[in-house]
């Protein structure tokens, strides 16, 4: 049964009247027009659809919208424009960590989530933290390098 669901996306309130089991991914892409959130598998296995819900990293493809009621969602579009985003983006670019780019928005959100919890991760922690995000283009090394680089250059931000 459809119901009213209200939550905040990137600082803006969103009210949806819809099926509570609908996927957060579809609400973000189709309803809010936030195409930075990508669908790579629809099964919670690739991380392309990663967003933050109340600061926690979730796969929006297996997250029913009923669960975001009253919560705050941050997508790449909302993260964009922050100082932390700039640092991460520059590090990704400098390391050459963006190939086809399809995994990149999810990867950046996973990196942000890691750095929020652990501003000075070591290599093993970075590998662990983003092991839920698949990338088929790169050898991952450049991505790990980028996150480590961001944690150094962005010292004090997280």
């Amino acid at each position: 049964m459809a119901m009213d669901i209200s939550f905040v996306v990137n600082g803006k309130r969103v009210n949806i009247y819809g099926n509570p089991t609908a996927r957060l991914l579809d609400a973000l892409r189709d309803y809010c027009g936030l195409t930075g959130v990508k669908e790579g598998c629809g099964e919670g296995e690739c991380g392309a659809c990663s967003v933050l819900v109340d600061g926690k990293l979730v796969n929006s493809c297996i997250y029913p919208i009923a669960k975001v009621e009253g919560k705050e969602v941050l997508t790449i579009e909302g993260f964009r424009g922050t100082e932390k985003y700039e640092v991460l983006k520059e590090s990704f670019e400098a390391a050459g960590a963006v190939q086809c780019g399809f995994c990149s928005p999810g990867m950046l959100m996973a990196a942000e989530s890691l750095l929020r919890e652990n501003p000075k991760p070591d290599e093993v922690q970075v590998r662990e933290a983003i092991s839920g995000n698949l990338c088929r283009c790169t050898g991952y090394n450049t991505i790990v390098e980028a996150v480590l680089d961001a944690s150094i250059r962005g010292e004090g931000l997280w």
Partner: protein, 773 residues
């Protein structure tokens, strides 16, 4: 060199990580109809009857397509040049379904829920037929997979559908018997390589709409927009001038998007309904109904004389193309044509075999394209032979491998589906790659010592590889370069950036040739209406083929600029010289800046547009080379294989953009490592796919990949744009053999079948211990 051999960030990198709308699905209008496909639940069946009335009546359903109401034109979806070396054996929909996942019908609806509901309402009566699932039993099987009379080859490829043979080929030179007789050491071994899924993160997506002029526009995640236009016209029975294909950003291709998937269906829907229609494959559909790598059985015999000179190589291949023959002949031929020349001094070489149809997911192009399969067989056998001879395998390779200035008869004999072209290796730094990779990996010390630490044993192994740079004499790329007022340029290229960064690389080549900086070049690519022809992104062709086209265009542009400036300055054309900023008289007496000249050209002095076109079709296909070394650690209690380090030293000529080249190699290595250790397409006895998600089909994550050490040899290919060769595929080729050789080095067990899983290792270790007792 100012603008090449320089790691300029990708032109669109920023936009992508921003998450801006860029990929096909992002660009679909909000009112697009959602297309869903009904897929066969049987591996082989004939549709006796299909009833769609209930589905058509459902609210929100705009269109239902089956074999009854679509054009019946037989094509190949392979996405190759014309005439294709693949058999024409595919209808949009057919009465026969040939694998679990084959298309039965499609529906288009206002929303996904209605589309899915409608699929359930379509009633199909099937006559279930005996499927052919074991490719070693496919030839002359009682079931004929392609009985339709329309199926045909475009030129002789050994096509015998009545025997389930999609292609056949044999070649040989020298006297094999005599050569083997002279050999002190002969090794024969049989290898099996498995199906592998591309798993590009963006699933296959296509969007179609009818534009304001009434023309059909297809926006698609395709690697080959121009081939897609031609093939769509053929399948739909539409004049080609009615179709425009646009490739926006693509979320990974690796060969999987060379062919057409979904374009016919969205196009028909748009034409019938007048509405935009999109089809986004689910991940399960990608696994089930796109493509895999061709599984192969490869028998190799190599003979060497007592001085460790390779005298004879024989390779026999049985390849499985699945339900349709896309890339059947060419992938199989590359298993030989891009491995055998590595050992070019053999007196006798023979290669041949058969490609068969089976009732499984079709196989198609996949990075490496046969070379990875052939390399596993050849380079594993080289190690076995070296051990028999009692020579270090790297010394054995170095003694026998191809060197700069040399050639191989294989180049002339074997092309891709046709005869090949003669070529001499003008750049081949394989000897350097080998030496350097040995140094970096610590081969000398590590290979000789048993390195056991409790339950863990380390091993090291290596392999060499080659690939090509485009398909010579067939595939063409072209570029249009336009000067704008203010002195900047538009580069229009048909070339298809599939995430590789080729837009950036081609802009760098243009900039280097013109002498301007890369940010003066705005690139537009892959739109069949607006950009000139290009074969597309496959066969490692973009940097070399399209790059040469860009270089030619840029040289013409430079000449036109110099001529226009000479006219303006009152000089003879030969007396003017463009330095990237300004055009000077050679004696430096006068000059005009490009900015000034171009603005005058468009507004105030002898006004005219400067616009040039360059096109290029290679006469040869200079191979990139590499040496790859794997260091692994095996846990003898669990059989787990950890990849400790992978060293790759690559000769791809001049790296136009070292960072982008590096990711190409690293990405290739990881896919090759995945194929060696984890990735396997598994089916039930009925042919139903088991590995249809990322839980069951494991691709390497960040945790599995430890150290990758990649270096480039200093090399210059005289026929390449600014010295470059290709780099897109070469990285994938060595991991299977290198890792198998490393496992042998560690525990003395030889694996000849991929993937090599912990269970296989444990079983083999147990068997070995038992045999020794």
């Amino acid at each position: 060199m100012k603008e090449v051999n320089k790691s300029i960030p990708k032109k669109e990198g920023l936009g992508l990580s921003f998450g801006k709308p860029a990929y096909t699905d992002d660009l679909a209008p909000r009112d697009s109809l959602i297309v869903k496909v009904l897929r066969s639940p049987f591996a082989f069946a004939r549709i006796k009857d299909i009833r769609t009335e209930a589905a058509e009546k459902l609210e929100g359903i705009k269109c239902v397509l089956t074999y009854r109401n679509v054009p019946r034109n037989i094509v190949t979806r392979a996405g190759q040049g014309y005439p294709e070396p693949s058999p024409h054996d595919k209808f949009i929909f057919d009465k026969y379904v040939r694998y679990i996942g084959d298309e039965v019908a499609a529906v288009a609806a206002e929303n996904e829920a209605a589309a899915l509901e409608a699929l359930k309402l379509i009633e199909v009566d099937y006559e279930i037929l005996e499927p052919v699932l074991d490719y070693e039993k496919a030839v002359d099987h009682p079931s004929v997979i392609h009985p339709e009379k329309e199926a045909h080859e475009m030129f002789p490829i050994g096509y015998k559908p009545e025997r389930n043979i999609a292609a056949e080929y044999h070649m040989s030179f020298g006297d094999m018997e005599e050569a083997l007789d002279k050999c002190e050491y002969v090794v024969t071994e049989r290898y099996y390589t498995q199906a592998q899924n591309h798993t590009a993160m963006e699933t296959h997506t296509s969007l179609a709409y009818v534009d304001l002029q009434g023309r059909l526009t297809i926006v698609s995640s395709t690697q080959t927009p121009f081939h897609a236009r031609r093939i769509a016209a053929e399948a739909l029975g539409l004049p080609i001038e009615q179709i425009r294909v646009i490739k926006p950003r693509i979320g990974g291709g690796y060969g999987g998007k060379q062919s057409l998937h979904g374009e016919f269906i969205t196009a028909l829907t748009a034409l019938r309904t007048g509405r935009p229609a999109k089809l986004v494959y689910t991940r399960e559909e990608v696994f089930e109904a796109s493509y895999t790598r061709h599984p192969m059985r490869i028998d190799v015999t190599i003979g060497a004389d007592r001085d460790a000179n390779i005298k004879a190589i024989d390779m026999k291949v049985l390849s499985n193309t699945g339900a349709y023959g896309e890339h059947a002949l060419t992938v199989f031929m590359v298993a030989g044509s891009k491995t055998l020349p590595l050992y070019n001094k053999a007196e006798a070489v023979s290669f041949g075999g058969t490609v068969v149809y089976t009732n499984t997911t079709p196989a198609g192009a996949f990075r490496g394209y046969g070379a990875i399969q052939g390399n596993f067989a050849l380079e594993s056998t080289i190690d076995i032979l070296a051990e028999n001879i009692g020579i270090d395998p790297m010394e054995f390779r170095t003694r026998n491998m191809i060197k700069e200035g040399e050639s191989s008869p294989v180049f002339r004999i074997m092309g891709e589906g046709t005869e090949g072209v003669d070529m001499v290796m003008e750049s081949c730094k394989l000897d350097y790659c080998m030496k350097r990779a040995m140094e970096l990996s610590g081969w000398k010390d590590k290979s000789k010592r048993r390195r056991q630490n409790g339950k863990k044993i380390k091993g090291i192994g290596g392999a060499i590889a080659m690939q090509g740079s485009g398909i010579p004499c067939i595939d063409m790329g072209s570029a249009v370069l336009k000067l704008n007022d203010g002195g900047f340029f538009n580069l229009m290229i048909g070339a298809t950036d599939i995430g590789t960064g080729s837009d950036t690389i081609l802009a760098q080549i243009a900039a280097e040739t013109l002498g301007v900086s890369t940010d003066k070049i705005a690139v537009y690519s892959s739109d069949t209406d607006l950009t000139p022809f290009d074969c597309g992104a496959y066969a490692s062709s973009t940097t070399y083929v399209s790059g040469n086209a860009v270089q030619k265009a840029a040289m013409k542009m430079k000449a036109q600029i110099e001529a226009a400036a000479a006219d303006r300055l009152g000089l003879l054309t030969e007396e003017s010289e463009f330095d990237g900023e300004a055009i000077w008289a050679k004696d430096r007496s006068k000059s005009i800046s490009l900015k000034e000249l171009s603005t005058e050209l468009y507004y105030s002095y002898k006004q005219k547009q400067l616009l040039v076109c360059g096109s290029y079709c290679g006469e040869i296909s200079p191979p990139p080379f590499m040496a790859g070394f794997a260091e692994i650690e095996i846990d003898i209690e669990t059989g787990k294989i950890d990849l400790v380090d992978y060293t790759a030293v690559v000769d791809c000529g001049v790296t136009i953009n070292p960072k982008l080249a590096l990711i190409q190699v690293e990405g290739g290595l990881v896919q090759g490592i995945g194929m060696t250790l984890y990735e396997d397409v598994k089916r039930t006895e009925e042919g139903r796919l088991l590995t249809n998600d990322f839980i069951k089909y494991k691709i390497p994550t960040r945790k599995e990949i430890n150290k990758l050490t990649v270096e480039f040899a200093e090399s210059y290919e005289p026929t390449g744009p600014h010295g470059a060769k290709s780099v897109g595929e070469i990285g994938i080729d060595t991991p299977p053999a290198a890792i198998a050789n490393a496992i042998y080095n560690a525990v003395g067990v030889r694996f000849t079948k991929l993937p090599i899983t912990p269970e296989d290792v444990l079983l083999a270790l147990k068997k070995k211990a038992f045999d020794m007792d």
